[in-house]
Assembly symmetry: D2
Homo-oligomer: 230 residues x 4
């Protein structure tokens, strides 16, 4: 199965477990409109149970699950079957997030299964050494967040960003790079993309803002501006 | 939130990761019709991404997830938020299946969160000693399957079933008991319910049968017959 | 195999991974002398590789491992075999510490295997509900530490201690109770034992003190004093 | 700290949890004598509690633990501290065995910590893709066992062995390669080493043999013969 093409610079709205149901759908619709208006690729992560509905009520988003398991059709009580996720319209998956670590074997299998089913893989690493190991699995996107910054509202420093960007590109220059640690302002978005990353995005900086739709709009505006300049 | 009342004898259709999407929906519709025709409570387990759709296209089933996580709204990348599952129309959840073991702490929290949200809990134990520990968490339903029988088409012997039934009822007589190891024939259904269990059900005995709808119909017919006699 | 009798009030020196090798042995010798001088039962936890040596060079301590696995002789690469631990002279084991959570099934099996081999079990729970589930496994000692206090130097409040003491004794009055969250002063030792706990102990309060031997001596002196009054 | 040099062809005696205490020591002494007599490097894996004693009573073996954790001195209740293992005289460690899988992050950290402390790392992968990811962590030795063969007495086929040997050497030609799946005869030892592997070894083929010392002697004799020819 063919994967959907992901164009840089892209943006990830990652509500984790902050939003679900109606509220997640409402923000997804805002993101969907922004994706259309600004011609920017936006990945929107969902609770598993919300995937199909958000897919059905939007047109442009990359519907993204926050995890899936590399199991095969059959047993596997309680695990997320890649085929089920694909049939529900999911386009991408995060894997190995610091909050949801996977064994080497689980991650290897999950990347392979997602590849078979045309699901884009966004794989996380929380150090430069780990990033090199993960890069050799050839994920579509890699995330390099120093674990200690997640949820803090502090971004990685520019030299860390550049160093991880370079290290990953030396292994495989086709892997896209997401720098998204602690992004909470438009300036953070700019800084991440100017580091050379292919994408950026946010969680608490957006969903915990007074007006999530407003901050998201400003951020996508900035992404579109950088896209035009590129 | 109020939990839906579960009436014994009940039946669990548990497709695990054998079915998903269209095929899962098709079997769910058969089960839904049987629940209506025979006035039997049927729990139907789903892949997370299929929950909302199966809920929307059926009327009688207890839509059941195969796992959820005891997390709170907030962080928790890739985990199954109980609130999301509840809003999607899920009525029950399995927890601590032998194929998806949970830590004592995770299980304790997941049962509490499900209780808060009105989600029935079906908790698995794979030995009598473990069953006693789990019973003290006061789940709504307990499953006592000797791990080594899962997926074999062999049922627990009647003395094991009676012994676990008794042990659990001594701790808490209000917990309902599911005996569902290796159920693949109508005779197995009868044997499980006559052991004194409140419910039974199946996976491969149904989904891997030549005609899943036919075997399921026969099984529910037997459950209804036993219900009438009770 | 017969378990060694543990007499209340007892004390646990738990260096976790702060001490090892020579330094662990040095503190163990201090504890051993105190156990003899004050006739107080002292459990001393060790890194696995240090167990045999500390056993051989002391006479009175309950040599305690910080974890073991409920495996059988055979495969199980990298796991801690209960028989190996027992033959090395280990008398007790912690299980299910908040820093090393176990699945319900792993914990159940580990307690059973330790029982078979005469190893005292000290099982942790991090909430009252979890404590009830764990108590039904009939460990020799239970630890009830609200997870959020570990390593903070803050003790549980007296009402939490009394509540957990009571809840556990209602299930099984023969289980001994260890209250050891955040113990760092002699006053903390006194407070924990006066709550009705059978034992107390410490980690960072001792090993990170300027003079670990001195603070340990003062604490054991207090335990002995309370023992005499009892 | 300097790692001990490991010379090919080497041999690994891996009793897993089959042997411990006196019996493990007895086989270790046989292996130690063979290492001396045939000038072959032999790694002998131990239960953690047996490490120090077997180190003290042998002279030539690479004392090898079956796992360690990449933790730092401090908290980490129940985990295996690399410093403790090093001080006890351990020279090498297995990591990420199929029976003891590690997360990407845990494995990365454990390799780094072992490197800091001069402990040789023997890292397992159970597929070719996983092997490539693991190779980028630069372990000293890699093991490539198709998981399904472990403990079966069946060896990997020669083409699988040659393929993994090649793939690993393309990434990093300095990594030594252990081919040890299902080795139970002298012919298996020969086949593995002639595949181009740097080392081989066994578990059940040795410890479950009628006369473990005899079969081990024959195997080491073969290794020595191949070494001379090289």
């Amino acid at each position: 199965m063919q994967k959907r093409t992901l164009r840089a610079p892209f943006f990830v709205v990652n509500p984790k477990a902050y939003l679900y149901g109606e509220k997640a759908l409402a923000l997804a619709k805002v993101a969907d409109q922004l994706a259309a208006d600004f011609d920017v690729d936006i990945l929107f992560t969902v609770q598993q149970v919300d995937a199909a509905r958000i897919k059905n009520e939007t047109a442009h988003l990359f519907i993204t699950v926050q995890h899936l398991d590399g199991i095969q059709i059959g047993r596997g009580m309680g695990y997320i079957l890649p085929e089920a996720v694909a049939e529900a319209g999911v386009t991408a998956t995060f894997l190995n997030h610091a909050e949801h670590p996977m064994t080497v074997s689980e991650l290897t299998t999950a990347v392979q299964r997602a590849d078979e089913l045309g699901i884009l893989t966004i794989v996380c690493a929380d150090s430069l050494t780990e990033a090199k190991a993960v890069a050799s699995l050839n994920p579509d996107v890699m995330v390099c967040e120093p674990t200690e910054l997640i949820g803090t509202g502090q971004t990685s420093d520019i030299s860390y960003m550049e160093e991880t960007n370079q290290a990953i590109r030396m292994i495989n220059p086709t892997i896209k790079i997401l720098q998204a640690a602690g992004i909470s302002t438009v300036a953070d978005v700019e800084k991440a993309l100017l580091s050379g990353a292919d994408g950026t995005g946010g969680t608490s900086g957006i969903v915990c803002a007074d007006d999530p739709a407003a901050i998201l709009t400003d951020m996508i505006h900035k992404v579109a501006e950088i896209k035009k300049e590129a």
